[in-house]
């Protein structure tokens, strides 16, 4: 079994104003994984990351990073993580090189090594020609990349990115995806928060969905997508048969003496389903969609992502 890169158990956070941002979340990230923490704004993604990176004090629960508990071995835990926060948080007046070299210094990397690494990392992120520019002179996309460069200076085992592509135009977003994918292939565990479903789909193997401070789903991307392809209907019938119909990829369940639930893949024609029911002599009186918490969330997420995309296209 692989090591746990991150293990979070029953994590709770109540802010000083009494707001309960995390209501007891648990999840694990395997070493080498590429996982998305997906959720709408205000879901608690940044709070979760804040706790992992000791920017936010937790109220209850436990967090460990590569087996180092943040309560007992905080410094060891910190060494494993590189953080790319949601908001720009470098000094606007320092140059790119100063920012990354000092950051390496905070992790104990001697200056001459830090200078060499800065060259490598800034070149990788296409910022080398800006090394002597003050951070405030950079474009939004460059600032975002500067934060990635800064997070990589101490060669962390896990890279955590909080909405790294928010406000970044589509082209740069794709270059960033390629970069992250390569980094992951070379062995860095990556945790990324986003509210773009597409981003999670493109990049991640696993996904944890968070909403209102709870994890509503934690599974593989593949499983999730296949589940999203299935629609569930509730049928009111005059009588429930002894034997349910059989149809490939369709699942029938009896709920009570006058209700049947069916899961139908989106590409399946409903005619076939009705034929199968007719064959068994089942009369359908009415039919409705079963509202699905997960789907609702997704509709919400994808709608928002589309709006954001449109806004960005307008900006450019």
């Amino acid at each position: 079994m692989k090591n746990k890169a991150i293990a979070i158990s029953d994590l709770k956070k109540t802010y000083s104003n009494g707001f309960e941002a995390l209501k007891g979340i648990s999840f694990e990230v395997a070493e080498g994984d590429f996982i998305a923490l997906l959720g709408p704004n205000g879901a608690g993604k940044s709070t979760t990351i804040g706790v992992i990176c000791s920017l936010v004090n937790k109220t209850a629960g436990s967090v460990s990073v590569f087996g180092h508990s943040i309560d007992q071995h905080l410094e060891a835990a910190k060494r494993c993580i590189g953080l790319v926060p949601q908001e720009f948080n470098f000094s606007q007046f320092e140059t790119c090189q100063q920012i990354v070299v000092n950051q390496a210094g905070y992790y104990g990397v001697p200056r001459h090594i830090a200078l060499e690494r800065a060259e490598v990392v800034l070149k990788q992120l296409d910022l080398w020609d800006k090394k002597d520019s003050q951070a405030r002179m950079l474009s939004g996309g460059m600032k975002r990349r500067l934060m990635i460069a800064r997070a990589l200076m101490h060669e962390p085992k896990i890279l955590i990115l909080d909405e790294p592509t928010a406000g970044v135009d589509i082209e740069i977003r794709r270059t960033m995806w390629t970069f992250l994918r390569e980094l992951n292939e070379q062995g860095t565990t990556i945790v990324l928060t986003t509210h773009y479903l597409e981003e999670a789909e493109q990049l991640c193997r696993n996904i944890a969905i968070i909403d209102h401070g709870t994890i509503v789903e934690n599974t593989s991307m593949k499983d999730l997508l296949s589940r999203l392809d299935i629609e569930t209907f509730i049928l009111d019938v005059d009588s429930v048969p002894n034997e349910l119909p059989k149809l490939e990829n369709v699942e029938y369940r009896i709920r009570d003496e006058s209700t049947i639930e069916i899961d139908v893949p989106k590409e399946k024609a409903l005619n076939q389903v009705f034929e199968s029911l007719t064959e068994k002599g089942i009369r359908v009186l009415s039919m409705r969609n079963k509202s699905n918490r997960l789907e609702e969330l997704f509709v919400q997420l994808t709608e928002r992502a589309q709006v954001v995309d449109r806004e960005q296209k307008n900006e450019n």
Binding site: Y15, S16, G50, C53, S54, L55, V56, N57, L74, E75, A76, K78, R79, I81, L83, P85, E87, N89, F90, S91, Q92, F93, E94, Q98, V101, N102, Q103, A104, G105, Y106, Y107, G108, V109, P110, R111, R150, H154
Partner: protein, 261 residues
């Protein structure tokens, strides 16, 4: 196993904080290093040359020479204090303090980094003002060791106080309240321009409650060999303040007051 052994990495972190701090005030030297040179030149011209020439000797030296140590000390105090107050406050405000919080830098070293940053600016300012002063008076130094010791301790004390101020500050105004309403009056009333022996007895006793008086006099003793206060008392008092403020600052940073939610 539980004793804390700070490794080499913590010292590299300390060095990085210092580099960052020193780079910061050199980058904005027009706001940081130039003003004390200008203000102090004015003090020397006005109080030292114009008015001082009518004052006559104080404790056996010219008035100009008498006020020089106090004026140097005054700029060391303000600059150590405001360096840490504004640097730490803006690190909070721009959130780049998070760069330190996510990294494995021991709290003690974050504190030392900012304090030494403030001390270094205090020292540089001290040197600048001393150079300005030497254009106006022939400076004599009675005891180098005391001069250095007192000036370093004083700037440590005020640098630490500046950090405590920044932790509680909620706006840029909050970091100028203490310098304006507390530090400036205390320095002016701290015997920079006069000897407390010139005051009525009641006001002499009131003055003894002003910590700046002790620092100015200890520093003056280092230069001129004269002091209103026994020098040991002065040094003991400064050390007492440093220990107190340092403990408070350490506690605030370790708890993450004002920087961690």
């Amino acid at each position: 196993m539980k004793t804390k052994v700070y490794n080499k990495q913590a010292f590299i972190a300390l060095q990085s904080i210092l580099v960052k701090e020193i780079t910061r005030y050199f980058r904005i030297w027009i706001q940081t290093l130039l003003p004390p040179a200008i203000t102090m030149t004015l003090y020397f011209v006005i109080f030292g040359q114009l008015i001082g020439s009518r004052v006559g000797l104080m404790e056996g030296v010219s008035y100009m020479e008498y006020i020089t140590p106090g004026i140097i000390m005054m700029s060391v105090i303000t600059n150590s204090y405001s360096n840490v107050a504004s640097s730490f406050y803006s690190a909070k405000f721009q959130r780049n303090v998070e760069e330190l919080l996510v990294a494995p830098v021991p709290t003690l070293f974050i504190l030392l980094g900012y304090v030494f940053g403030g001390v270094s600016r205090g020292m540089i300012t001290g040197v600048i003002v001393t150079l300005v002063a030497s254009q106006f008076v022939e400076l004599q130094i009675n005891n180098w060791a005391i001069v250095c010791f007192v000036v370093i301790l004083t700037s440590m004390m005020f640098a630490t106080a500046g950090l405590v101020n920044a932790v509680f500050a909620k706006s840029f105004d909050d970091i100028s309240i203490i310098p304006t309403f507390v530090l400036t009056p205390l320095t002016y009333l701290g015997g920079v321009f006069y000897s407390i022996k010139m005051l009525p007895e009641f006001w002499q006793n009131v003055s003894l409650a002003n910590p700046v008086l002790y620092m100015v006099n200890a520093f003056r003793y280092g230069f001129l060999g004269v002091s209103d206060i026994p020098i040991e008392n002065a040094i003991a008092l400064i050390i007492f303040f440093i220990v107190g403020l340092f403990s408070i600052a350490y506690y605030l940073l370790a708890k993450g007051i004002g920087i961690r939610s």
